[in-house]
């Protein structure tokens, strides 16, 4: 079914429920309906680019539970103390003016046959194409002691920026000098591969100034540092020797909440502040819609269009996808997925094939203190034989060493990707 052949009567995004009855005059009654579930780096960019590139051909509705966008990238700087959460918070107002219809609600169920999305408020949205960047959910069953709300308030993940970020900063501030902050890292893949190591640096940077006798203990389930390995290894020794202790092959099996003890396969480690980044999978809405196809965790997609391999007409973006080799679960990459999907969806709705030669680029900057940064960059081109986005041999790489110039670029990156994503 193409957008121009559809029945005019069913063409406008079908919305029931009083709170959603705010039709925009610019909406075309014959336009295709695209619904996007989730307004993070992937979803907001997809909504914006669908409308920028599709114009009147497409009506775009973005469902997002939060009233404001809070960036996960840079949120480790809130722990280090050089940024506040307000610095990382942006409004959806400009995106709404694109115009994208913003619906602040939560998607509860997708019906891939009827092509509808049921919302928490009871309203139902109909779609021709659905974009689902569901983000991640934590696999609490892997850390049974944390599978309740009280435990999750005492032992924080702070792996979704927001209240948990602020709460972890407060725990660090309250920790006595001479205390131990322990950070548990799950087996890769997880959201933001260099993120845990950046976090260790940020907390160590704070301790260096405020609590010189305190320690950072990195309990890594992986056998070595997952991203920017040699650079972080050197930073841990040169900048934070005597503060950061790095322990590979330290998989967490459970926690004792009362004593803030990390139970590893080989030993128990008590901490004054225990910060657990749990194992992750695609979020619940992906599970409900039957989009999870790999290891009961991730969603497989066709890399020409980001369309689900399991459910036609549904495009999955971002951290929830079963990544192509060397492709990180990052906000930057989710933005690139979004543009790839937006271009493909608009082609499909016009009766054309998706672009056969898509390209995606990734850059992740990590702050090793308040001003110095190290980067990793990759470029991914579509390989038609393997049906994958593959890194290009000889391209990409990392910084030579931590430097202030890239610290400025990293902050500039944030301003530009936020503007590119949200308008």
């Amino acid at each position: 079914m193409t957008w121009h052949r559809r029945d005019v009567l069913t063409a406008a995004a079908t919305v029931t429920g009083a709170s959603l009855l705010s039709p925009r005059p610019s909406w075309s009654q014959s336009a295709a309906r695209v619904v996007v579930i989730g307004g993070g780096y992937g979803g907001a960019a997809a909504a914006r680019y669908l409308k920028r590139w599709g114009g009147k051909k497409v009506n775009v509705t973005l469902v997002e539970r939060n009233k404001q966008f809070i960036s996960c990238p840079l949120s480790n700087l809130v722990l280090g103390g050089s940024k506040t959460l307000a610095d990382l918070t942006r409004s959806y107002e400009r995106l709404a003016k694109t115009p994208v219809r913003m619906v602040h609600d939560e998607a509860r169920a997708i019906d891939p046959v009827k092509r509808t999305v049921k919302l928490a408020s009871g309203a139902t949205l109909s779609y021709d194409r659905l974009v689902v960047p569901p983000g991640i959910e934590f696999m609490w069953e892997e850390v049974p002691g944390m599978a309740n709300a009280a435990a999750q308030e005492r032992i924080l993940h702070a792996w979704k920026a927001g209240p948990q970020t602020l709460a972890l900063r407060k725990q660090l501030e309250a920790m006595p000098d001479g205390g131990v902050y322990a950070l548990s890292i799950p087996v890769a893949p997880y959201r933001c591969p260099p993120g845990p190591y950046e976090r260790a640096c940020q907390v160590a940077s704070y301790f260096k100034q405020a609590k010189p006798r305190a320690k950072v203990l990195v309990l890594d389930a992986n056998d070595k540092i997952v991203s920017k390995t040699a650079l972080f290894d050197k930073v841990f020794q040169d900048m934070y020797g005597g503060i950061i202790e790095y322990r590979p092959n330290s998989r967490l099996t459970d926690v004792d909440v009362a004593t803030r003890t990390a139970k590893l396969e080989v030993e128990d480690v008590r901490a004054d502040v225990l910060n657990v980044v749990p194992p992750q999978r695609a979020a619940d809405i992906a599970q409900q819609a039957g989009l999870i196809t790999a290891n009961k965790r991730w969603c497989e997609v066709n890399w020409l269009s980001m369309e689900s391999k399991a459910q036609p007409h549904i495009h999955v973006l971002g951290d929830a996808t079963l990544a192509a080799p060397m492709m990180p679960k990052s906000g930057h990459m989710a933005n690139q997925h979004a543009k790839l999907a937006a271009a493909a969806i608009l082609n499909i709705l016009s009766g054309q094939e998706p672009n056969p030669t898509p390209v995606a680029v990734n850059t992740c900057y990590s702050f090793v203190d308040a001003t110095q940064v190290i980067h990793i960059a990759t470029v991914h081109q579509y390989n038609a034989d393997k049906k994958l986005l593959e890194t290009v041999q000889g391209s990409g790489g990392v910084s030579k060493e931590p430097n202030v110039q890239e610290g400025k670029y990293a902050l500039s990156w944030a301003q530009n990707i936020w503007a590119d994503t949200l308008g």
């Binding site: 933005n335 790839l340 271009a343 672009n355 680029v361 990409g396 790489g397 301003q415 530009n416």
Partner: protein, 100 residues
């Protein structure tokens, strides 16, 4: 003999080229991969990076060549530019030159 071989190779390329007919919006799509750092359509926010929107094609082409050949010292672009073919870079350059 040599001419015949060239013709065969050329025809093969042509067949592949036709099978993978370029997307009419390829330049737009490729340029969009730059926007995360360089701003939507090259309209950069802030003072750290140069504005790509409206940059003359020969000027940008020259800079990218220097990055690719390693004759210009930079932090990251020499690594990213090597991930694109010369044809793709030309489409990107042309797209940004058209932006105002």
């Amino acid at each position: 003999m040599r001419v015949a071989a060239w013709v065969v190779t050329f025809s093969a390329c042509l067949t592949v080229g036709q099978a993978l007919a370029a997307d009419p919006n390829l330049g737009r799509n490729l340029a969009a991969t730059c926007a995360n750092c360089h701003g939507t359509d090259g309209k950069v926010v802030g003072q750290e990076l140069v504005r790509l929107a409206g940059m003359p094609a020969n000027q940008m082409r020259g800079k990218l060549s220097e990055f690719k050949e390693g004759t210009r010292q930079v932090t990251i672009m020499h690594q990213i530019v090597k991930g694109f073919t010369d044809e793709q870079l030309q489409l990107i350059v042309d797209y940004f030159a058209r932006q105002r």
